[in-house]
Amino acid sequence: MTKSSKLDRSISRRAMLKGTAGAVGLAAGSGAITGFPYIHGAEPKVLRYLGTAVNEGDEISKKCLEDTGIKIEYITATTDDVTKRVITQPNSFDVLDTEYFSLRKLVPSGNIFALDAKKIKEFDNITPVFTKGQLPNGKKIGDQGTAPWKVLYLEGANSKTFSKTPTEFVTLIPTVYNADTLGIRPDLIKRPISSWTELLNPEFKGKASILNIPSIGIMDAAMVVEASGQHTYADKGNMTKPEIDLTMKIMTEAKKAGQFRAFWKDFNESVNLMASGETVIQSMWSPAVTKVRSMGIACTFQPLKEGYRSWASGFCVSKAVSGPKLDWAYEFVNWYLSGWAGAYLNRQGYYSAVLSTAKANMTADEWGYWMEGKAAVNDIKAPDGTILEKAGAKRDGGSYDDRMGAVACWNAVMDENDYMVRKWNEFIAA
């Protein structure tokens, strides 16, 4: 299907260049798309955008259409299903928005196409978090797990090997990232929480929860194990078999003792558990904390002394994309990094890849609250206009440098992934 429509399009483009009525007639006669003679600009620029619901805001696609004329068609799936789709149906999407940790599966499959850094206008302004693993002020950040700078470059255009030194072939053009930690209900816990060990504290028996996505859940578990001094991992994102056994043993004991109320898998489940008071401490995502808070329920995205587990995502295209579609993809990615979308993401509590352009699209007060850890001067509003925080509030965890600077590890796919998934099933069955 895709092939034939591409052929039609190339015919109609040629027709336009020749500009002769006969050729136009031929193109129309050959059933080119609409069957009408080609008019420049009449063919809509459409990109199919595969990703998780987290980044697929209607506002973004609306603004993009307004600014660039590119119509974004969202294909929404869960993290696991996005990966599955890239592996099994590479023709079913154009632009892919995915996380860096899945690259260890996607790149060897050969189904994605690395973008050319030279065609990305703001590439040199992308935060050094992605390119060098350090903050803009030069501070190095944690590199355990599949940190983005380890998988950012390929050795060549069609290479399946990650390059250790910068090249122009970029696996994913960075867009959004954040530092995750535990969410807590301060009104029900009524005391300060400062360490990951609290997740397994018997005080919260039957009121704790973790993520039921094995590759992410085990990282949170590892943060707990390390915080409680039971083991220090060489790399939490790439455990050895004995380390997986140890981690799962500790988690299994906690599960059998009834520590966990439930495990959650999607955004809304985590919001429900926390808002209903079923759990008081659990691994959580930033916008979920915001959502609980917007329901009028106290919820804190608690900074912990052992640091954050971080994640990052970005754009690439399907290997099936070429010709004008590839140009639109570059146009779209360039638009995405040009500031409006970045400001939109920052206002949700995420971080944008190009800080300078996002800053230009935010008020000084917004920038101060979200990025610099300052008290809000006026009420802080969500992108849709609802009030998130009253004037005077400060962001949990403080500034960008405080939060990203305290990252301990990144979401990862381990070498022993197969073994880990089996152990996770054993844990669930225990």
Binding site: P108, S276, E278
Partner: protein, 293 residues
């Protein structure tokens, strides 16, 4: 000659269904079985013969004795949930069907009341399950009510995210699958048989045990097949209501699929299919449905 033609016509009549069956059921099943014996790596299936999917699944089944291995534990648990759900849906389903068939006289009311049984299906599966949380949760209606009545001091934790809540949701969802076939069997019982039993001096209980139950056996078996096959393969209900903490055969397949380990998932699917077929064939051994229909 006419016999041949009759057979031919019969085959022709069955052909569309056979074709659909072959294309959308047998063929995919064949693929799943083939893939289950393939090898795999992080991101793709490797079409080379390997029983890794199976051996991994039964890992530790002998070494860990007398402790049960993951797969056995999972299946025992799934079977337990299945048995509880089956027993309860049968009891409730039979009672409801009995009421509809023998106590509701008018056909209109029978239809209206049967339609009422479909209410749980008017909303999506996920919404139906989420609706239990404000009811059974720690701060839910039931706990609030009991506390208000002074019956309990601490909220009951086992109401939600437990085997209790899983079975409750499954029964709520699938009783209808019992009601319909049993009702269908009951409605076809010749009323004169019941009158005859009454005239012969049978008590209500004797009529039920000796006349009605034997005659509704096909309905019971068909309903049981529905419920058992659905519950054996279910992972969504068990996942949500069990707080993702209760293992099920379907859940293992799901987590393997999510890790892109398709052959391992296929192997587990073949095992699940085998177990389910065993249960169903045992059931049909007890009652020959084809003879009874």
């Amino acid at each position: 000659m006419t016999q041949d033609r009759k057979t031919f016509v019969a085959w022709l009549q069955a052909a569309p269904m056979m074709l659909v069956f072959a294309l959308f059921f047998l063929l995919p099943l064949l693929f799943v079985t083939i893939v289950s014996a393939w090898d795999y790596n992080e991101y793709e299936m490797i079409p080379a013969f390997s029983l890794r999917g199976y051996t991994d699944t039964f890992e530790g089944c002998i070494a860990d004795l007398p402790n049960l291995c993951t797969i056995l534990k999972t299946y025992l648990n799934t079977l337990k949930l299945c048995l509880l759900t089956w027993g309860l849906t049968l009891l409730i389903g039979f009672t409801v069907a009995y009421f509809l068939a023998f106590h509701v006289r008018s056909k209109t009311w029978q239809i209206v009341l049967t339609l009422l049984c479909t209410i749980p299906f008017w909303t999506s599966n996920v919404i139906r399950m989420i609706a239990w949380i404000p009811l059974l949760g720690r701060n839910g209606l039931v706990n609030r009510g009991l506390e208000g009545a002074g019956l309990i001091k601490q909220p009951l934790e086992w109401l939600l995210f437990s085997e209790f809540s899983v079975v409750l949701a499954l029964v709520h969802l699938f009783t209808f699958f019992m009601v319909v076939p049993i009702f269908n069997s009951m409605i076809r019982i010749d009323k004169r048989l019941i009158e005859a039993a009454y005239d012969a001096g049978a008590s209500g209980w004797q009529t039920l045990v000796n006349v009605i139950i034997p005659l509704t056996k096909p309905g019971i078996v068909i309903g049981s097949i529905f419920v058992i096959t659905i519950v054996m393969g279910d992972f969504v209900t068990i996942g949500v209501m069990g707080g993702q903490q209760i293992a099920s055969a379907g859940k293992i397949i799901e987590s393997r699929l999510n890790a892109l380990q398709f052959p391992a998932a296929a192997a587990n699917a073949v095992i699940l299919l085998g177990v389910t077929i065993l249960i169903i064939s045992a059931l049909t051994r007890i009652v020959d449905i084809r003879k009874e229909l």
